[in-house]
């Protein structure tokens, strides 16, 4: 029953938000420090672009748009889908999926929507302002930007599902899977113009961060229908693939008898 799934997920997201706001001081501090950290990052890039004007044809404004898209997508991931990544990886490793398997709602999204990082609000504000401030953004392409944003969130989810689900096969991998996720996130923050053609092929297939850092800006600068269609079909394909990968791993789930024990890796 689709309507019941939707009602459940809205309620779940509400709970998740409430949970992340339960410790108010910590909440506001995390938002604040994320803003400061983003500010420092931007000053760095600003100085760089001031020196060189453009990097392989990308101006600071292009870069602002890309970073804005990247950070906004990441903030949506960390606010609403923080359950992919380390949380899911730990659940798989420590036998914590039991409860999720026993709830009659989609397990993958139930886990994904069960954690939230308040710092995401800091990212959300930064990213949103950057998109608005960029010259590439105007009100006639709001719809296009929205599609880019959705695709970028799907891209983070794809990477998150994939690295979490690896834990079904590899034991003791959970922290590494978080690290790998962040390597992808950090890579997606570099301007797409710096890569060679070969690198671009990789980044638009198996290491799919080009869907965030290359295609959107290029499409906005000069619209090309094939690129646009490739962006949408490519990311859908990868997204569905990562979901199938997860369900395939789920059959290998070992559960476990966790009580808090000694030993931390």
């Amino acid at each position: 029953m689709a309507d019941n799934q939707i009602k459940f997920f809205l309620e779940l997201i509400r709970m998740n938000m409430k949970h992340s706001y339960a410790l108010k001081t910590a909440f506001w501090l995390r938002v604040l420090f994320m803003l400061i950290s983003n500010g420092i990052m931007l000053v760095g890039w600003g100085v760089m672009f001031h020196q060189f004007q453009s990097i392989n044809g990308w101006t600071f404004s292009d870069f602002m748009f890309m970073t804005g898209l990247n950070i906004t997508a990441f903030s949506i991931w960390s606010l609403f889908f923080r359950g992919t990544g380390i949380y899911m990886a730990h659940l798989i490793e420590n036998g914590g999926l039991d409860h999720f398997l026993l709830t009659p709602k989609n397990i993958l999204f139930h886990i994904s929507c069960s954690a939230s990082n308040p710092a995401g609000w800091g990212d959300f504000i930064t990213g949103f302002c950057l998109i608005l401030a960029s010259n590439l953004f105007c009100f006639s392409n709001v719809f296009l930007v929205l599609i880019f944003l959705i695709c970028s969130v799907l891209c983070f989810l794809t990477i998150g599902f994939f690295f979490s689900a690896l834990n079904f096969w590899l034991t003791g991998f959970s922290d590494l899977s978080e690290r790998l996720f962040y390597i992808f996130f950090n890579l997606s923050g570099y301007p797409g113009s710096i890569y060679s053609d070969w690198a671009k092929i990789l980044l638009l297939t198996v290491f799919p961060i080009g869907f965030i850092s290359i295609l959107p800006v290029e499409i906005l600068k000069t619209f090309s229908l094939p690129s646009f269609l490739y962006l949408i079909t490519g990311i859908s394909f990868l997204f569905i693939g990562s979901i199938l990968f997860f369900y395939n791993g789920l059959k290998r789930y070992k559960s476990g008898n966790q009580v808090n024990t000694r030993g931390y890796q």
Binding site: F8, E11, M15, A22, L23, L102, P104, S255, Q258
Partner: protein, 302 residues
């Protein structure tokens, strides 16, 4: 309602572990081997066996958490691994060591989320929550965040969370871990009442014989993943230990205890030979369940 709550046929589960390097064959642990059993709807069954016997593994397979390596099962007429969400509405599961409550939020919020997950209407939710929280005496805990609760208090709330959707079949894996005497008694009498009034099926594993004795009519003993014994609680008590405990109280307040086995000893001979004076009271008891189970386990080991 289905006639059978649980049917399994040659259900098996092995765990594999790479012990001798990545390219060597994995070591196999046979947690459950060819387990075939049927449980009728409304039965209350205890699942006993020494540590590592395969009880939890069986429960996890029947509740769709683990995929079996062999065999088949039907729970409430449903194949657990093919139609998980239909199964979820029929079963309730309580694991002594797991949490389904949100750490920083009041218990009530977590319970509400579950009510939505199970498509309960607001009226149903309110009624069921009231019924459960009164039975388990947690009404005043509902508005406190989970992190502030003691283990026993949290366990009571976990139990409510597992029962909120009024499941037909209950799987309880060591449900009384961490509960105080009072809470244990509350839970037992609640389960008993629930099974009698609504005819729900209960499958219980516990190392607390009090739980077993109070709730279950049938006992399944498993060891090394196989079914060893399938009998009723009454037969278990009479058949597997014929020994009797006799306690004689004398008029001066002192007492003596004997235990003897009517199969091997002659009772008249026993009474004659003993030197009783001024007996004021006499009781004959069956050995406690704990003793019977201990003997059974010992027999298994040897």
């Amino acid at each position: 309602m289905e006639k059978y709550a649980v049917i399994t046929k040659n259900l098996s589960k092995s765990f594999y572990r790479k012990e001798h390097g990545f390219f060597r064959p994995a070591t196999e642990t046979k947690a459950v081997q060819d387990l075939s059993l049927t449980i009728r709807s409304g039965e209350c069954v205890a699942f006993i066996g020494p540590n590592g016997a395969g009880k939890s593994t069986t429960v996890k397979m029947l509740t769709s958490i683990l995929y079996p390596t062999g065999g088949s099962a039907l729970v409430a007429g449903i194949n657990p691994w093919e139609n998980r969400s239909a199964l979820c509405h029929q079963i309730g599961v309580i694991f002594g060591q797991r949490s389904q409550l949100w750490y920083h939020l009041p218990v009530r919020d977590s319970l509400h989320l579950l009510a939505v997950a199970y498509n309960l209407s607001e009226a149903e939710e309110k009624k069921r929550l009231q019924e459960l929280s009164e039975s388990l005496q947690v009404t005043e805990l509902l508005d406190r965040p989970v992190r502030d609760l003691s283990l026993g208090q949290r366990m009571r709330c976990e139990i409510i969370a597992s029962l909120l959707h009024s499941p037909q079949i209950l799987f309880l894996d060591e449900p009384t871990i961490g509960l105080d005497v009072e809470a244990k008694l509350l839970l037992r009498s609640f389960l008993k009442q629930e099974s009698e009034a609504k005819g729900i099926t209960i499958l219980l594993t516990s190392h607390d014989t009090g739980d077993i004795e109070k709730i279950c009519h049938r006992v399944l003993l498993i060891n090394h993943g196989s079914l060893i014994l399938d009998t009723t609680m009454n037969r278990l008590k009479t058949q597997f230990m014929s020994e009797k405990y006799i306690r004689i109280t004398h008029k001066d307040g002192s007492y003596q205890r004997f235990h003897f086995d009517p199969r091997t000893e002659d009772i008249t001979h026993f009474l004659k030979s003993s030197t009783f004076n001024q007996v004021s009271d006499l009781t004959i008891e069956n050995p406690p369940l704990e003793e019977i189970i201990r003997k059974l386990y010992q027999k298994e080991v040897s």
